[in-house]
């Protein structure tokens, strides 16, 4: 049962699930932030539409700065503008900034304690066909290790909006991680969002699943299925047509049947077998939208209850969410932590769901890992 106090999206695991990219939430919120505070300015490195900064540009053309393909200068300019007294958001793909702008973020922003909001768009392997060079899988690691840096990874468009507004409001460097694809809307505008706080999406005592970003959905799906939620199971099965049967195309579920064809291995019967094998579990699912500062208390409380944890992130299993959680728990309540994420590998070209399947970050793979844990 999902946590009612969080006022989550009631359409989850139904035919009416909504799918909106996190970058959309950001783009609209940035224009909103610009309206609230005239000090907000936006800088972009030649990726205005795909980072959704075009909304801001349309609303405030005099406060939008095109930097061209120059990510080091992007961050430097933003730092200078922050020193002047503006509130700059600077955006590029997360592979390029942070990436080639890491020294500038380290010195001009973090060391200088400048009020710059670094937006890393198109993070994760779900970027898809562009391939490994454009799939940021190390950015959380690069950013969270910097002193004075706040690291936010919203799970959906609503959180992306909340994160953007919170970033604009707070004083200090922020890294905001966004993704490309349409992903499930799990929260609502009424769901609370606080930097430094985690959200217990569903309570349980068998296992602590900790997730960041849109993959939270895969964690929730797994947890609900194992709790006996039939709707959730149907949602998952609908992704994977039984290739032996002639299954009619269904447009009902967000992850369309087209994507399902991309999956390599899973079929409904295999999934059902797994579910039976694992049996009923009551899993606690925690959303970490705030990787730094981290909500140590919530993690400790959960680990004390369950005794076992799993982290799920669209990032290398080293250095990102898992590392943050491991650092925390190793001090407060040492717990075994099972990793779900990129297995120390670069990505490649492919379709988004196809890639997530191949590298083991989807619900069936979570179930599979649990079955063999």
């Amino acid at each position: 049962m999902l946590n009612k106090k969080l006022k989550l999206n009631t359409k989850l695991f139904t035919a009416k699930e909504e799918y909106i990219p996190t970058r959309n939430g950001f783009g609209e919120a940035l224009a909103e932030a610009g309206k609230k505070d005239e000090r907000v300015v936006a800088l972009c490195a030649d990726l205005t539409e795909s980072t959704r900064m075009h909304h801001f540009r349309e609303a405030f053309p005099d406060r939008f700065i095109e930097v061209g393909v120059a990510e080091q200068n992007l961050v430097g300019l933003a730092a200078g503008m922050a020193e002047y007294g503006k509130i700059p958001f600077c955006a590029s793909y997360a592979t390029f900034s942070p990436g080639r702008s890491w020294d500038q973020i380290r010195v001009s922003v973090a060391y200088g304690e400048n009020n710059v909001k670094i937006v890393g768009a198109h993070a994760g392997i779900s970027v898809g066909p562009d391939g490994a060079t454009h799939q940021a899988l190390e950015d959380i690691s690069l950013m969270r290790v910097l002193p004075n840096m706040t690291v936010l990874a919203p799970c959906d468009a609503h959180q992306a909006r909340a994160a953007t507004l919170a970033a604009a409001k707070m004083n200090g460097p922020v890294y905001l991680r966004l993704t490309r694809e349409k992903t499930p809307v799990m929260t609502t505008a009424k769901t609370s969002f606080k930097i430094g706080k985690a959200q217990v999406m569903r309570e349980g005592n068998d296992l602590t699943m900790v997730a960041s970003g849109p993959l939270l959905y895969e964690a929730l799906l797994a947890a609900e299925i194992l709790a006996g939620n039939k709707k959730a199971l149907q949602t998952l099965l609908a992704r994977y047509p039984d290739i032996s049967k002639n299954v009619k195309k269904s447009k009902q579920h967000g992850h369309s049947m087209e994507r399902a064809k991309e999956t390599i291995q899973w079929t409904p019967s295999k999934i059902e077998k797994l579910v039976k094998q694992i049996g009923t579990r009551n899993i606690e699912v925690i959303n970490i939208h705030s990787i730094k500062p981290l909500d140590h208390a919530t993690l400790k409380k959960s680990a004390k209850k369950t005794g076992l944890a799993m982290t799920i992130e669209e990032h290398q299993i080293h250095g990102g969410l898992r590392a943050a959680v491991a650092e925390s728990l190793s001090l407060h309540h040492p717990t075994k932590i099972i990793p779900i994420g990129m297995p120390d590998s670069f990505g490649e070209s492919g379709k988004p769901m196809e890639l997530l399947e191949k590298y083991g970050m989807t619900t069936p793979w979570i179930l599979n890992t649990l079955a063999h844990a």
């Binding site: 430097g76 200078g80 200088g112």
Partner: protein, 288 residues
């Protein structure tokens, strides 16, 4: 604008010599730090803080003040020395705390060190981007102050600086004046042996800057160039200040190996101070 008077020139030159002497003592006390660049830029810093910049140590946060960004942060010792003489920090603190634990005078400048340090600097090429961003923000708001950015010539090896120049030129940031310490040295040797830069004039003009070549040790030149820079409206300005690395200390001049080390106490310090006091032996007194 009127050119400065002879009296003013003399006063600035005397001040610069005092600043250079304090610089030597400061470096010796610290036991660490850069010599060549700071000595070479002493005249530019003196001219800036004692004639050119609109600033007031009693009002360090005055929004109308001119801004100065140091991009080649390693020459901070000359900045700290000049700031002390200009009234921003006690002379004793300047002479004794460079690079020491707990100091405001960090090895490479920190934004929270002292007013009027606007930016953290150290990795080459970062200060200029910040200065350009600052000037852009000022231009957006119609602010009238000038933003200066001091850079090294070796620093021009870094790609980021060209990103910043391209942006500044394309955005016609007339309120930005870049001053390059053209001393022809970098760590591994002479710039034209390591990674030849010339013609810098051609490069900057291609990047839509107005370029002024000056003798970086001539107070009148420095003043005239900065006046001209303020008056030029269509473009940002780049002043190529030709300097002698280690200027004022005979055994350091033109020697790239003095880029990154301080003089030692004792003989090296004494000779340096003597050179500076006597203008290289030009003056005589009973003491020498």
């Amino acid at each position: 604008m009127k050119s400065i008077s002879d009296a003013k020139v003399q006063s600035l030159e005397s001040k610069a010599q005092l600043i250079r002497q304090d610089l030597i003592n400061m470096l010796v006390e610290a036991g660490s730090g850069h010599s060549a660049g700071p000595l070479g830029m002493a005249d530019v810093f003196t001219a800036l803080y004692f004639h050119i910049l609109n600033h007031d140590p009693k009002k360090p946060n005055d929004p109308k003040r001119d801004r100065l960004f140091l991009s080649n942060g390693h020459i901070a010792p000359i900045w700290y020395t000049t700031l002390a003489h200009a009234g921003y920090l006690p002379r004793k603190e300047m002479l004794t705390t460079l690079r020491k634990l707990g100091t405001r005078l960090q090895g490479h400048p920190h934004k929270k060190g002292l007013p009027p340090i606007e930016n953290p600097a150290g990795p080459l090429g970062q200060g200029i981007s910040q200065a350009v961003g600052y000037a852009l923000a000022a231009q957006m708001d119609g602010a009238k102050f000038e933003t200066y950015c001091l850079m090294g010539d070796g620093e021009l090896n870094e790609g980021q600086v060209w990103e910043a120049f391209m942006f500044a030129g394309n955005n016609r940031l007339h309120n930005l004046t870049v001053i390059i310490d053209r001393n022809n040295i970098q760590i591994d040797g002479d710039t034209e042996n390591i990674m030849p830069l010339d013609s810098l004039r051609d490069k900057f003009e291609a990047f839509k800057f107005h370029v002024i070549d000056i003798d970086g040790h001539n107070m009148r030149d420095i003043s005239d160039a900065c006046n001209q820079a303020r008056a030029i409206y269509e473009k940002p300005v780049c002043i190529l200040a030709h300097t002698i690395p280690g200027k004022g200390v005979g055994y350091m001049e033109f020697d790239y190996t003095w880029h990154g080390k301080p003089p030692k106490p004792g003989r090296e310090q004494d000779i340096a101070l003597c050179d500076l006091r006597t203008l290289g032996g030009a003056l005589c007194s009973e003491h020498e």
